[in-house]
């Protein structure tokens, strides 16, 4: 492993002072991405700052205003917290399928976001809830809509010295359901060829879609929203036909590449199929 220093601050103030130090300073929470990247020289560091002992970053809480996930909270903890709360089904599903249980026990949702892989499984689940990234640096704090947080594969808009503090999800309205599905060639332990998160709110008496949110993974340089499909669905009565048309339209938001995991054409087809399936799951969930 290349040489670097390690610090484990106990307070956010201390952490931000360390993050502002000269040189390449990297935040670590679960470490399941960054340690592998450091080993293989895919990212470098002069100093690694372990965020797991900063109590502000290890809390997960929900109240009437919404859900707040500290950036160092593990996928297992987020899964456990959301599994009994059907308001966040997509997030609960995505946190249970990242890597293995050994990875989920260490890896944080905040780290999945900051690693900014286009294939990251938790990001579509956060985007459909219109999550906000709350950041902090020695200079102050920022609130960034999560959709604007990504600058490219592995790149975020975080500046030198700035860390993700918390991810906030506003409470979904009643009659809202969500789902996340990804396609991988095996059953577990793989990276999404494509992933789709969907959320719909339906007026129960008329079956009219009041709100639709669809987000795609692994089909663009960053995670993306399928705005055209969302706009089409809103105001329409939910039916097999409208779901199929929304699935067709979602493909317009995908600009995939061809790589070892799949061709661009195949990924577009997957977006269609997974959008349809996630919307159908949402409808089933709303009927329960």
């Amino acid at each position: 492993m290349p040489n670097f220093d390690y610090e484990a601050p106990k307070t956010l103030t201390e952490a931000l002072e360390l993050m502002a130090r000269p040189g390449e300073v990297r935040a670590l929470s679960g470490g399941t991405d960054i340690i592998d990247q450091l080993k293989n020289n895919r990212r470098n560091a002069d100093l690694v700052v372990d965020m797991k002992r900063v109590s502000d970053l290890t809390k997960i809480e929900s109240d009437e205003s919404g859900l707040r996930i500290g950036s160092a909270v593990s996928c297992s903890e987020v899964h456990k917290f959301t599994i009994e709360n059907d308001r966040y089904s997509a997030l609960s599903e995505s946190t249970e399928l990242i890597g293995s249980v050994h990875i989920q026990n260490r890896a944080s949702v905040g780290g999945n976001v900051c690693n900014a892989a286009p294939s990251a499984d938790t990001i579509p689940a956060l985007l459909i809830h219109e999550a906000i990234a709350y950041t902090a640096s020695a200079e102050g704090t920022r609130e960034i809509p999560l959709i604007d947080f990504f600058a490219g594969p592995g790149q975020t808009v975080l500046e030198k010295g700035e860390v993700l503090k918390e991810i906030g999800l506003p409470t979904p309205s009643k009659n809202t359901a969500s789902a996340y599905l990804r396609f991988i060639p095996r059953n577990e332990m793989d990276i999404a060829v494509a992933g789709v998160g969907s959320l719909i709110e339906i007026e129960s008496s008329t079956q009219i879609v009041k709100k639709a949110r669809i987000a795609l993974a692994s089909v663009a340089p960053t995670p993306v929203r399928a705005y055209t499909a969302e706009e089409y669905l809103e105001g329409k009565k939910i039916s097999i036909e409208t779901i199929n048309e929304a699935a067709n339209l979602a493909v317009q938001s995908a600009v995939p590449i061809t790589d070892v995991r799949g061709s661009a054409e195949y990924r577009k087809e997957l977006v269609k199929v997974l959008t349809r399936r996630t919307l159908n799951i949402c409808v089933e969930r709303l009927a329960e």
Partner: protein, 158 residues
């Protein structure tokens, strides 16, 4: 390189040791504490050969920095038996031939122990899902799953 003084409990034994910032937990266990039961496979979190428990949670020790385990409790395969008496999971792996070459076995037994501690009565589907992070290249998966099912029965009987 900077060294860090850490306090950790490994298999019930307290250690105060100096570790390099860049060492992994796997390196500290094997090279510093001579606990070579934990194996190095892929070194990137895919194979699970290096699985240990950190505060009871199964984790890949190749993806943990040694200084991260300050004030944490580690359990390795050497910590499963009690004064020479094999644990129910170890007994079940022996009785059901849940191993061929044995390289993946320490990781599987730790993963199985962590699983059964959390869920004493897992279905076959749950066992296969929760052990998906452990690879056996001899591919004796059926016997491994049977071993875990048998271990669950043994633990229920006490």
């Amino acid at each position: 390189m900077t060294k860090k003084q850490i306090k950790t409990t490994v298999n019930g034994v307290h250690h105060e040791i100096l570790v390099e910032s860049t060492w992994t937990l796997l390196e500290t266990l094997r090279d510093q504490l001579q606990l070579t039961g934990t194996k190095e496979g892929c070194s990137n979190g895919n194979c699970g050969a290096c699985t240990v428990m950190i505060d009871g949670k199964s984790s890949c020790s190749c993806l943990v920095l040694a200084p991260e385990i300050d004030e944490r409790e580690i359990t390795t395969v050497e910590g499963l038996s009690d004064h020479g008496h094999l644990s129910p999971v170890q007994d079940a792996f022996v009785e059901n031939s849940g191993l061929q070459c044995g390289f993946c076995t320490p990781g599987f037994m730790i993963a199985a122990t962590a699983l059964l501690n959390e869920n004493p009565d897992p279905s076959e589907h749950e066992i296969r899902l929760k052990l998906a992070g452990n690879l056996c290249r001899c591919t004796g998966y059926d016997k491994i799953v049977r071993s875990v099912q048998d271990a669950a029965d043994r633990m229920k009987k006490g």
